[in-house]
């Protein structure tokens, strides 16, 4: 039967009236609880389904979805009918016709419809400005239309992120609502829908459980049966209020209390007695609801990741069955625990322990993002040791790293070690964590080194694997390297990172050997050690590894005496690497040269590669991977005096600019000036010059103003300007005019006191200029401009930044010689003035 055809509009009214009449009768009999309301909702469903059929099929698929209380099938007599009209595509004339045909008959018969019209694509993004709508969507129920569309809605809607947002919004809404009632349930005329302990609280309790851990409902302060009794009672009362007032009225006023008590059949000779009994029951039920909600608010885990919740006892799996099937998600639990400053719950650990043997090492990090997550977990910070220990205890560590399993509870008898090898290993990581997180003035110098590491997780990875070779009784470092190679194969680390980790493991005893057993006053010993480590980053990591490794042997092993020796070797080697590398140049017999030549691509003749690298500092071969060196060789091809060859590439979050040209005055300053004129912040870099005057400058910079990301022709523009400035066609100062305040006259960050020191004794060929200053855009331009104004040539530069500090080491000469004392004084004084204030 059609209920919307002309002349039959009254059929809809009649059908609706009939449904309502039936409900009225049940309410009047005191039975307007859950069962009656569900039946009523079913009848309204049928009406809506018929309306949908009569409205005609629109061009796009459509689904009629019940929301909120109606979605739960608790449709009270005068409640709004909350609906979502969901379309599978863009709403056009056909869909609008459908809406009119569907909604107008309902409006005509006076039904209050709370309707939302949406296209499915609108659910791709979270609708954060309408938390009530999102809450109502949790109870979404398909009524009519295309079921697949409804299924798609559920897929889009039910995500961990959405659940987390709703959870937070719900807690806020509860707070606000309670505040309107002075946060007490003991109201003389309570609103049975809104008041504390009433129906909304009841639903909030259920929602919290549904979004976090459904089992919590069974563990609350109230028996589940009593919770359901409370719901039934409140629904019956609300139904009576609707019946008696003839509208959507939910306040159990004094007048309506008498009538409600009568309908519900409370005994008592006087109305007052019946009312007292009714209200006594109301408060009993409201208290159960209220206490349940309070308990749930405390106990419900807050979603903190896919299938992960934060509860009072730590991070748990919201759905342990699902967790058991997805081992790749387990690492996330430990990551979340560290981030939240808590632990992984015993329950979650049991779940892992129970299932961990079913999986292979590869199953825990099968995708690139999982491997990135595993590395991120290893970043040293508060809680890392404790979480790794939990991973070890539940068997997860040994499955992810079977190499580590080989040293579990391993006892090596010697005079020094106090712990099993696995615990010694974990303690090294704890020591690194403490170094970074505990205030200890005596360790400040090492803490600064640790805080400056760009990839500290590689150090932790090296620590984790450095003693795995101790499962055998003979020399363990080579065996540790062999085992680590297998672990790193699985992790698929980038080559450079992999080589760093293997280097640290291979040489993890070397620094203590040199520091404690060799004469570090001998420059040759330090130079040899410097050649072994090659770069400052590796030196820093090996220094810290040595420190924490010695400390983890026993409580008394790392004495201030040993710390001092480690620090002295670190400083001497650091100075060797940054100040004396210019004296050691690449020649054809250089270690690494053979491999470089042998591995060259077909387009690069041997002579061309050799001509490019010979005469550059030996450090060059250690700093750059072979592929980068070949790219530099290509850049240098056919370079002429007025030319500049460039490449600009994004890598991770920074850009790398390589410039090859022939040396000329103000070259370095000009390049820095161009980068500053585009708002680029230079973070790291090298400037190298070979004896033929060929210059290779490599800068890594961040594009904080997103100039390169937002402008399609930015790449070409930067290259073009660089060409113009370096070749002398454009004056860089004209480019910087708009940025004069920030670049030319910028002060260093106030917390960093600038240090400028010149030394002509450290290197055979150069005056070394050490500069530490607050990092600001344009810093290098300002420094190098002063150096050039003093008639000095910038031959080599090391650029690094650590947080807000810039650490730059310039190798300079004047007319091919080191600076005199007087020239040094004049230059450093000028530089100090530049860095301390406006010129």
């Amino acid at each position: 039967m059609s209920i919307t055809q002309p002349g039959t509009g009254s059929a809809l009214r009649a059908a609706l009236d009939a449904a309502r009449q039936e409900l009225r009768a049940e309410i009047a009999a005191g039975a307007g609880g859950g069962v009656a309301l569900e039946r009523h909702a079913d009848r309204v469903d049928a009406l809506l389904h018929q309306l949908y059929v009569d409205a005609g099929v629109p061009d796009r698929p459509v689904a009629i979805v019940a929301l909120g209380g109606y979605g739960r099938r608790h449709l009270c007599l005068h409640s709004d009918i909350d609906l979502l009209l969901l379309f599978g595509g863009r709403i056009g004339p056909s869909e609008e016709r459908f809406l009119r045909a569907f909604l107008h008959p309902l409006w005509d018969v006076g039904v209050v419809v709370g309707h939302q019209v949406r296209e499915l694509d609108e659910f791709v993004e979270l609708e954060e400005d309408n938390p009530e709508f999102l809450l109502a969507l949790l109870d979404a129920r398909h009524v009519a239309g295309t079921p697949a569309l409804f299924d798609r809605l559920r897929e889009l809607f039910h995500t961990a992120g959405t659940h987390a947002y709703i959870l937070r919004a719900l807690l806020t809404l509860v707070e606000e609502r309670h505040a309107r009632f002075n946060a007490t349930l003991y109201q003389l005329e309570p609103d049975v829908k809104e008041a504390p302990g009433a129906l909304r609280d009841l639903m909030a309790t259920r929602t919290l459980a549904a979004l976090t851990d459904p089992l919590l409902l069974r563990r609350g302060p109230a028996d589940p049966g009593r919770f359901e009794e409370a719901e039934e009672f409140l629904l019956r009362v609300r139904s009576i209020l609707h019946l008696e007032s003839g509208r959507n009225q939910n306040v159990l006023s004094h007048e309506l209390q008498e009538r409600t008590a009568e309908v519900l059949g409370y005994p008592g000779a006087e109305p007052r007695q019946r009312v007292e009994r009714l209200m006594s029951d109301y408060f009993r039920h409201a208290r159960i609801v209220s206490r349940s909600l309070e308990w749930m608010r405390r106990a419900a885990p807050v979603p903190v990741g896919p299938n992960l919740g934060l509860s009072r006892d730590g991070i748990r799996f919201l759905d342990p069955v699902r967790a058991a099937r997805t081992p790749a998600s387990w690492i996330g639990a430990f990551q979340a625990a560290i981030e939240a400053g808590t632990e992984v719950t015993d329950e979650a650990l049991s779940c892992i322990q129970q299932h961990v043997e079913r999986y292979r090492a590869e199953d825990f990090a099968p995708e690139p993002r999982d491997r990135v997550a595993l590395l991120r977990l290893l970043r040293p910070r508060a809680g890392l040791y404790a979480r790794l220990s939990q991973m070890h205890d539940c068997g997860l560590m040994g499955r992810i790293f079977p190499e580590f399993d080989a040293i579990a509870w391993r006892v090596v008898r010697d005079f020094y070690h106090k712990y099993t090898v696995d615990e010694h290993t974990l303690l090294t990581i704890r020591n690194l964590e403490w170094l970074l997180t505990k205030e200890d003035p005596t360790r400040e110098r090492f803490r600064t080194v640790a805080a400056s590491l760009s990839a500290p997780e590689l150090l932790v990875l090296a620590l984790l694997l450095h003693d795995t070779g101790k499962w055998r009784d003979d020399e363990h470092a080579p065996e540790s390297v062999r085992m680590a190679e297998e672990a790193l194969d699985r992790l698929q680390l980038p080559r450079e990172a992999r080589e760093t980790v293997l280097f640290l493991i291979r040489h993890h005893l070397q620094m203590s050997l040199v520091a404690f057993r060799r004469d570090t006053d001998d420059p040759q010993i330090v130079a040899d050690f410097g050649r072994l480590v090659g770069t400052e980053d590796r030196l820093k990591m090996l220094c810290l590894l040595t420190l924490v490794d010695v400390e983890a042997v026993s409580p008394d092993t790392l004495t201030p005496w040993k710390e001092e020796l480690i620090w002295r070797l670190y400083v001497d080697t650091y100075n060797q690497l940054t100040q004396r590398y210019g004296d050691e140049l690449i020649d054809r017999n250089q270690a690494g040269m053979m491999e470089l030549l042998a591995g060259r691509p077909a387009d690069l003749p041997e002579a061309e590669v050799a001509r490019f690298v010979e005469g550059l500092p030996q450090r060059y071969l250690q700093l750059f991977p072979r592929e980068a060196i070949y790219r530099h060789v290509r850049l240098a091809r056919d370079i002429r005096p007025a030319e500049v060859h460039l490449s600009l590439e994004p890598s991770d979050s920074v850009w790398t600019l390589a410039v090859v040209t022939l040396d000329k005055p103000f070259l370095f300053s000009n390049i820095c000036g161009v980068l500053s004129s585009f708002g680029m912040d230079i973070l790291r870099g090298q400037a190298l010059t070979n004896p033929n005057g060929l210059v290779l400058d490599v800068f890594q910079f961040s594009d904080d103003e997103r100039f390169l990301a937002l402008n399609t022709d930015a790449h070409a523009q930067v290259l073009h300007v660089l060409q113009d400035v370096v070749s002398g066609r454009v004056d860089v100062t004209s480019l910087l005019r708009g940025r004069e305040q920030s670049v030319l006259h910028a002060r260093s960050a106030a917390r960093v006191v600038p240090i400028v020191r010149a030394d002509s004794g450290a290197s055979d060929r150069y005056t070394i200029l050490d500069i530490v200053a607050g990092n600001v855009i344009g810093l290098l331009y300002r420094i190098s401009r002063v150096i050039s104004r003093h008639g000095c040539d910038v031959d080599l530069v090391l650029i690094s930044t650590e947080g807000e500090r810039a650490i730059d080491v310039f190798h300079i000469t004047k007319a091919g010689a080191k600076l005199t004392e007087a020239e040094q004084r004049a230059l450093t004084s000028d530089l100090q003035g530049t860095l301390e204030g406006p010129q």
């Binding site: 404690f516 057993r517 060799r518 004469d519 570090t520 006053d521 004495t559 201030p560 005496w561 040993k562 001092e564 020796l565 002295r568 400083v571 001497d572 650091y574 100075n575 240090i755 400028v756 020191r757 030394d759 050490d770 500069i771 530490v772 650490i807």
Partner: protein
């Protein structure tokens, strides 16, 4: 008996031990110490900033030997620990009045 107390460079301890072993002197006490003599520390520079390193790490090697071999022991220590540079250390020689073996309570002559 003499107590010979040597302050040597950390990297020279093994050489000193080897030299003493050749004299059949194997019992010794080795302690990490810090201090300065004429060497008076030095100035270290790290990232342009000067640090005064006033107390330098050294090793203290203590042995107790019969008077008859004390001179040989001292010569061996000096020879093994010498580099010729400032900071090579010192050797102190003290008389020992009595010596007892704790395990047995026996007095040693």
């Amino acid at each position: 008996m003499k107590l010979i107390k040597s302050i040597v460079r950390p990297n020279k301890v093994d050489d000193v031990k080897d030299a003493l072993a050749k004299l059949n002197i194997s019992g010794m006490t080795v302690t990490e110490v810090r201090g300065h003599g004429k060497q008076k520390g030095h100035t270290a520079i790290y990232r342009g900033k000067e640090y005064n390193v006033s107390l330098l790490p050294k090793m203290e090697v203590e042995i107790v030997v019969p008077d008859s071999i004390a001179d040989d022991a001292i010569k061996a220590i000096v020879q093994a620990a010498r580099t010729g540079e400032i900071g090579d250390g010192r050797v102190f020689v003290l008389p020992v009045l009595e010596s007892y073996r704790i395990r047995t309570g026996e007095r040693e002559s």
